[in-house]
């Protein structure tokens, strides 16, 4: 009897520790990030860091304004969202509502495969196919633009958006659909006026998680957006994102230098942005209807 109790106790605590570990590591990462990142504010004010228009970390004196990077990230993300949201949601509606059994299975498998492609491979394909296409189509000096990045990232956001939105649509009670049909609604009216509104919180969450994936993506954007740290005037110019900056410069920054701390501060900004996006997604996912 006593042995059973001890076993029970031990297992319970072990599971508790495993559960706490994930939180513990997040807190640890966050603390490390803040400790390193906040040091940059000894030399620049938070305002001039966030809204400074030039990023020249190795000039003398260093100019550490990340506004061009924030703009770059937001522009690429916005472009990717505009492309992937309509296609992704429409794809989810097709899979959940319209596609006959076989096609549905094939599509779902295809979407999962898309999610499995490593981002560096997508970036590589983008570099040799998309970038020249953008260059000739828009008659630009270079095809390494925010638009190219947006298109490739749209592909990366799509699997997340499709699979979560499809789940949301699928979990709308069947009785809603029958109720709409019984009133004489057509299939499209049922989808548009009953299913989509009823699944709206799940769809918003899907979109937010898709965007979260896009904003944190590094490799593909670094390969095809051109990495010019200037505030973009249009979507057809090279941009540099927050993530690409960290990835490209961390190797050459001297540990303990201003540049090094600034990159950590960029990490904090990125962390906060993803955090906000994930919390918003969570709020929508758990929103109680009415």
């Amino acid at each position: 009897m006593a042995i059973r109790k001890i076993k029970e106790f031990a297992i319970e605590k072990l599971i508790l520790i495993c559960g706490l570990a994930s939180i513990f590591f997040v807190v640890l990462i966050f603390l490390f990030l803040t400790k390193e990142g906040l040091s940059v504010f000894k030399t620049v004010t938070p305002f001039s860091f966030l809204f400074g228009k030039s990023w020249y970390p190795i000039s003398e004196p260093a100019q550490l304004g990340i506004l061009p990077l924030i703009c770059g990230s937001l522009l690429v993300t916005l472009g990717a969202a505009i492309i992937s949201i309509p296609i992704g949601v429409a794809c989810a509606v097709y899979i959940a509502e319209i596609a006959p059994g076989k096609i549905k299975e094939i599509l779902k498998a295809g979407i999962e495969l898309l999610a499995a492609i490593p981002s560096v491979v997508l970036g590589f394909i983008g570099m040799v196919t998309l970038v020249p296409w953008v260059k000739t189509t828009f008659n630009l000096p270079t095809g390494l633009t925010a638009l190219s990045g947006s298109i490739i990232l749209a592909f990366m956001a799509m699997p997340t958006i499709v699979s979560i939105a499809e789940d949301a649509l699928y979990s709308v009670p069947k009785s809603y659909k029958e109720g709409a049909f019984a009133l004489g609604a057509t299939h499209w009216q049922t989808i548009y006026r009953v299913l989509l509104p009823a699944a709206s919180s799940g769809i918003v969450a899907a979109v937010m998680l898709g965007i979260g994936r896009v904003i944190g993506e590094t490799m593909a954007v670094m390969m095809i957006t051109g990495n010019a740290a200037v505030i973009p005037q249009s979507i057809l110019v090279p941009v540099r994102t927050l993530t690409a900056t960290i990835a490209a410069e961390m190797g050459e920054a001297v540990v303990g230098s201003e540049h090094y701390f600034a990159l950590f501060a960029v990490g904090i900004v990125l962390f906060i942005i993803s955090f906000i996006i994930n919390v918003t997604a969570d709020l929508f996912l758990h929103k109680r209807k009415f």
Binding site: Y176, G179, A182, L183, G184, A185, R193, K289
Partner: protein, 248 residues
């Protein structure tokens, strides 16, 4: 006048033979009650009348089913469902206000003018005996209503698209006796203008409101006659047994 003329109707869901050679004529402006134990095919029968069974991927049918002397499969399905409304077992308000729940179907069928829509909402709520209880709060969420009120809201919503026939699928199964009485009162009044088909698990309800009563068992129509006849001198032993509560 005959609203529905059903001859030798058989339906299957995959391997399951859900209705076996059913013959029924449903008259205009009558309340036809359908009773029978679960799995007797009574709901499948009801869902034939607005072709809701078509949603089932393995549904098959044979036989003859006429609505207003027209083959039901030749009628445009949306028109059919507008003309043959349905009220479900569980009240199913949409996540909208009381007003919008009723205006919803009306707008869907193309009516846009605000004052005309308001008129229809008021008329439908009055017909469903809900108007007096909700007239001061048409803009609150339909989920704020009690179960009985929600069910009458669903009846009003069905009435708003001006059907000719209303199908009730166990409309009172989740309601208390007082709400049930109100729904039954509404049904008796509605019979003047509409044809009503009522599927119910409550034998006494069939006796209270039905002009005629049909008894289904294992997919067969055992007996169909005037309600008094079914409840006083049924022709079939099985009907007698079911009504007396010997099985089911």
């Amino acid at each position: 006048m005959v609203k529905f003329n059903i001859k030798n109707l058989n339906i299957w869901f995959g391997q399951i033979h859900a209705l076996k050679s059913v013959n029924v004529e449903i008259e205009a402006n009558e309340i036809l009650s359908i009773i029978g134990p679960s799995n007797s095919g009574k709901t499948s029968f009801l869902r034939m009348l607005n072709r809701l069974n078509d949603l089932h991927p393995e549904f098959k049918m044979s036989g003859w089913l006429e609505f207003d002397n027209e083959d039901i499969r030749k009628i445009n399905i949306e028109d059919l469902r507008k003309r043959v409304g349905m009220v479900f077992a569980l009240p199913l308000p949409l996540p909208l206000s009381i007003f919008d729940n009723i205006a919803y179907g009306v707008k869907m069928h193309g009516l846009k003018r605000r004052e005309r829509v308001s008129e229809i909402v008021e008329r439908s709520l009055k017909q469903a005996y809900l108007w007096d209880e909700v007239k001061d709060r048409l803009d609150v969420s339909a989920f704020k209503l009690s179960g009985g009120q929600q069910q009458r809201l669903c009846i009003a919503r069905t009435l708003a698209v001006e059907p000719e026939v209303i199908l009730f699928d166990e409309p009172c199964s989740g309601l208390d006796p007082i709400s049930t009485a109100k729904v039954e009162e509404a049904m008796l009044k509605l019979k003047k203008d509409y044809t009503i088909v009522l599927v119910t698990n409550n034998v006494k309800q069939a006796a209270r409101v039905g002009d005629r009563t049909a008894f289904f068992l294992s997919g067969e129509l055992v007996e169909l006659d005037k309600t008094e006849k079914i409840f006083t001198a049924p022709a079939d032993q099985r009907t007698d047994g079911y009504i007396r509560g010997k099985f089911g």
